[in-house]
């Protein structure tokens, strides 16, 4: 009999996640019932939105009861199935949770084709929710036109780094906001951003203004707080603001005051639109086709940061809030067939 290993959420975090908010549990995996499927998780995605999922109140998903396995998106291999829609050896993605073995009735599990030559981590980044977020958020919600100036915050993150490259492909001037000079160099030297500014490197309002001499037409906001304000100060007439994340406040117990320059949304007749990628699930294939083509053409790169071992998840997740990751943060849970553990 298989033994599951899991992190359960046992306390509501106050501020950042603490190790004591989770408990490590080991328990036998029960035999499958009719209609059920057993998935061994290979990789677990860590995302800023995980923090909100641990709160006692609903976000865009229901609140998670204490004592539950921590919610998380992951990909894995079907090992057993009593559900005709799945067969052993199928690769699937879904809310597998912070655990090795997932058992469910298949609801919310999506099968995907494992393409030769594509690393597994690509399916939790460029060919997963991250790529879809960047693609639909920028192109559908942001509506960039050639020549527009696009500013993306959290630019060295999983989503931001793709948004900027898609912006370049769309013919825009792209400016990234990131948290270190090293990240900024990666954006401009490796990913082709036109400019990148370090929000820890002095007056962001001033440096951003210098990097955006024609103002800003599209803001792709992942951060919130002062970083968001710096962009709002520079928006042009009819600017589009894609509200994708507000990571700066996810660890606050009380929502902090919002941007001072929201009034510019009024005077500039701008539009601020909230965006949750799940709403585009039916159109993911469209995004992955385009992203795959751009990768094959050498116009798009991604970076994954894979932390080995499910045991590391509680510590690793906080790196998202400390600027500790570049590109997509993933936990390696178990090896693929043929891969060494």
């Amino acid at each position: 009999m298989r033994t599951n290993r899991a992190w359960t959420l046992v306390a509501r975090p106050e501020g950042r996640f603490k190790p004591t908010d989770f408990a490590w549990t080991e328990s036998p995996v029960p035999p499958l019932e009719d209609g059920q499927v057993l998935v061994r998780q290979l990789q677990l995605s860590l995302d800023p939105t995980n923090r909100g999922w641990a709160n006692p109140t609903a976000t865009y998903l229901p609140a998670l009861p204490l004592g539950s396995v921590m919610r998380g998106l992951g990909l894995g291999l079907v090992e057993e199935s009593k559900n005709p829609a799945f067969a052993p050896g199928d690769y699937v993605q879904g809310m597998l949770g912070w655990q090795l073995y997932f058992v469910g009735d298949g609801t919310g599990l999506g099968r995907f084709q494992r393409q030769p030559g594509v690393p597994l981590d690509a399916y939790l980044s460029v060919f997963g929710h991250i790529g879809a977020t960047a693609y639909f958020g920028l192109l559908d919600v942001g509506q960039p036109k050639p020549g527009d100036t696009v500013v993306v915050s959290g630019a060295a993150g999983a989503v931001g780094s793709l948004v900027g490259q898609i912006g370049k492909i769309a013919g825009c001037r792209v400016v990234g906001i990131a948290g270190s000079d090293e990240k900024c160099r990666w954006l401009t030297e490796d990913l082709g951003f036109d400019a990148a500014v370090n929000y820890k490197g002095g007056s962001l309002a001033r440096t951003l203004r210098r990097a955006c001499p024609s103002g800003i037409d599209v803001v792709f906001e992942n951060v919130g707080g002062d970083v968001f304000d710096a962009s709002l100060m520079l928006i042009n007439r009819r600017a589009r603001v894609v509200l994708c994340g507000m990571i700066a406040q996810y660890n606050e117990m009380v929502p902090p005051p919002g941007p001072r320059f929201l009034v510019n949304v009024l005077t500039q007749r701008a539009r601020v639109e909230g965006f949750i990628v799940m709403d585009y699930a039916a159109r993911y294939a469209e995004a992955f086709d385009a992203l795959g083509r751009w990768m094959a053409e050498g116009r798009l790169r991604y970076r994954a940061d894979v932390v080995p071992g499910l045991e590391q998840a509680p510590a690793a997740v906080n790196r998202l809030f400390e600027g500790g990751n570049t590109g997509k943060l993933i936990v390696g849970v178990s090896p693929e067939p043929g891969e060494r553990e």
Copy 2:
């Protein structure tokens, strides 16, 4: 020779307008040059946006240089014309400024038909920029559907009181936020709002929640600040927020922090859109046709608050920021023909 009387802006206001920010000047009206038109102003509109116009920085209009006649929208009668587009006796509307006589080349002046039985103040309210703001802001930007809950702040103001009535005509549940119990009674008893809450009467978050048991689908925001936050806490999926005014902060020297619950725009995939009625100038007739029909059917009312005498303008304008007006605030500048001074 005619003598003009005017309020010129001589100091940048700090906080609210002070009497010493203006100087009263009297000067002869010069003879018209070819192409010019002379207008005697009848009524001057006072609007919250006037405060921003006095700032040293541009808003959606260029900053006004110190020493200029204070900018203001007004309506008047053409008394002399050396411009073939205008004739003596024409009624016109435009940026006449805080003065008795306006001389210009006709740019920005619009003629309108004076309908029998319609009070003059209607042309600065329901059949003017106010009516157009309420009509296009709610219907075009807010996109209300029958059964939606619409919340309007500044509900007893010129725009807000029309927005709520248009919302009822559109089949919505309409909740107003206003600053006194008396105003709230006017909204519910005279104008047909489903509910009205007094933001000075205790916890707005709690009273607004009680008034909106199904959440909020459209926010028509005239106020900003804590009032805006109370609405944002209650927005439903895909809510539309019409950002029409942020009067709570127009007198602040430094923009105050924004709403804490902007994060709900993200989780609810809502849309916040800035709105300036000037952008709809080409479509005003459409609004006035509908508004006129609804008035004739007894489904729409407006209230004007006419302060007699141009001398009163500097004192009267602050009533907009003190909750001192109900309906449209107007200064009576000079009498119509046949009207007693």
